[in-house]
């Protein structure tokens, strides 16, 4: 296969040894699912790190939205403390919505999504890698920053751990459920608003269990029931959503002109 070709004008690199070519050729399909998922996870992570805007914007949005509430409702510590769980959770939910359509939109526009569908590898495995990368780049920063904003909202000190744990589980489900909406609206040019319209009703259970977990602990109650339900939703969405996402991507790709 590597017969001598007529050299192009500039030819610095000489040809690699025969052994490389044979070795590389044989690897077409032994990449295991985990390896495949990891590859797309690393790829998206590398992309996110390179364009800081992608993970910084949801974070800044989260901070600004949370700080709007005391301005709107008044700085009274008592009132702030009661609404703190709800405010933190709703702002985190909206911040996640903001960054959702970037999961597939760029890949759709430059043709990479097509190549994923046509590559012969299972699309749902690649999707898991991509959604996990989205969770790490836009979900985790929110979780890490939430205690700070909890302080701002006069959240009782007992509730910080629950806040972090509930947001951790919640943002995971939000990433997967949101990714379904992102995949469904990938071929629509201003799909952003429609994406939220489709996804928000589906995120209500996560919001309810999440914020009630934090407010339960804030008022001294036990929140293990809420957190276990959150974990259940997280596992349910992490296992079922990729199938729907893969189906939606196949449709979205076929819809483009």
């Amino acid at each position: 296969m590597t017969s001598k070709k007529k050299e192009g004008p500039v030819n610095t690199g000489e040809f690699p040894s025969k052994q490389t070519v044979e070795f590389a050729r044989g690897q077409r399909h032994d990449a295991s699912a985990g390896h495949l998922c990891l590859r797309f996870f690393q790829r998206d992570l590398r992309l996110a790190v390179r364009s800081t805007g992608q993970w910084l914007n949801p974070l800044l949005f989260f901070v600004i939205v949370v700080s709007l509430f005391p301005l709107g409702i008044g700085p009274g510590p008592a009132t702030l403390a009661t609404i703190a769980p709800g405010v933190l959770w709703v702002s985190a939910l909206l911040a996640m919505m903001l960054s959702l359509d970037s999961i597939f939109a760029h890949d759709y526009r430059d043709g990479t999504l097509e190549q994923m569908v046509v590559s012969g590898n299972p699309v749902s495995v690649m999707v898991i890698g991509k959604v996990m990368a989205h969770w790490v780049t836009s979900g985790l920063p929110l979780v890490l920053l939430s205690p700070l904003l909890g302080l701002m909202m006069q959240l009782p000190s007992a509730a910080y751990l629950t806040l972090v744990v509930s947001l951790l589980l919640g943002t995971l489900s939000l990433s997967f459920i949101g990714a379904i909406g992102a995949a469904l609206t990938v071929s629509i040019n201003q799909g952003g608003v429609l994406l939220s319209l489709l996804v928000l009703p589906l995120t209500v259970p996560v919001l309810i269990f999440g914020s009630s977990a934090v407010s339960a602990v804030a008022s001294g109650l036990e929140a293990s029931a809420h957190l276990s339900l959150l974990a259940a939703i997280a596992t349910l969405s992490a296992s079922l959503a990729p199938i729907a996402i893969a189906g939606a991507i196949r449709i979205g790709v076929a819809a483009s002109r």
Binding site: S3, K5, G8, G13, A24, R28, R39, D110, S119, G120
Partner: protein
Amino acid sequence: MSSSATLMLEAQGIQIWRGEHLIIDDVSVSVPASSIVQIQGSNGSGKTTLLRALVGLAEIDEGQLFWQGEPMTRVRDEFYASLLYLGHKPGITAGLTPYENLMALCPEIVANQTVEKETRKWVLAVLTQLGIGDRIDLPSVALSAGQQRRVALARLTLQQATLWVLDEPLTSLDAEGQRWVKQQIQQHVATGGSVVFTTHQPIEFDDETVITLSLAQPS
């Protein structure tokens, strides 16, 4: 390699409507092993849509697709495993360098650490032939559309696929580039593979039999 008699890809009676008008009217294509099939047609004749339909990237209203004799719905994964599709969109991510892009797109060259250095030299050699060797580590956003197409075309050598489906492979390429692509196609066909591509005006291959399907402008 399957013997030359067996058919690689076959499409029978493909009909595609877009809204009210019929863009692909009852077209049948059969791609035997080690052959070149050229879909020739002016702009808007629906050749890109037909090509995308052949690889399942466009909806088909009527008609059937077969891969090596089996109905496509049953062998879709094997079909995709042996397919290399280059569409209008190059499939190059702007944020990644050409090297990273090619590593993502061609599973074959995802070598483990021991062979990393060797594979990189091989990718560099192919990119140099295409005249973009020096851009291997620049983020692709710095590359022009033509250069991004060349990075995508590098997959013709780097990736192992029995069937190539290329959408206007020779556009926006200089004479040097076009000759390189023709060479790859001829070599691919010589080893038993097949190539289907769309083009504005017919392309000659010196000693190859080229099956030409010309799409008339829809009525």
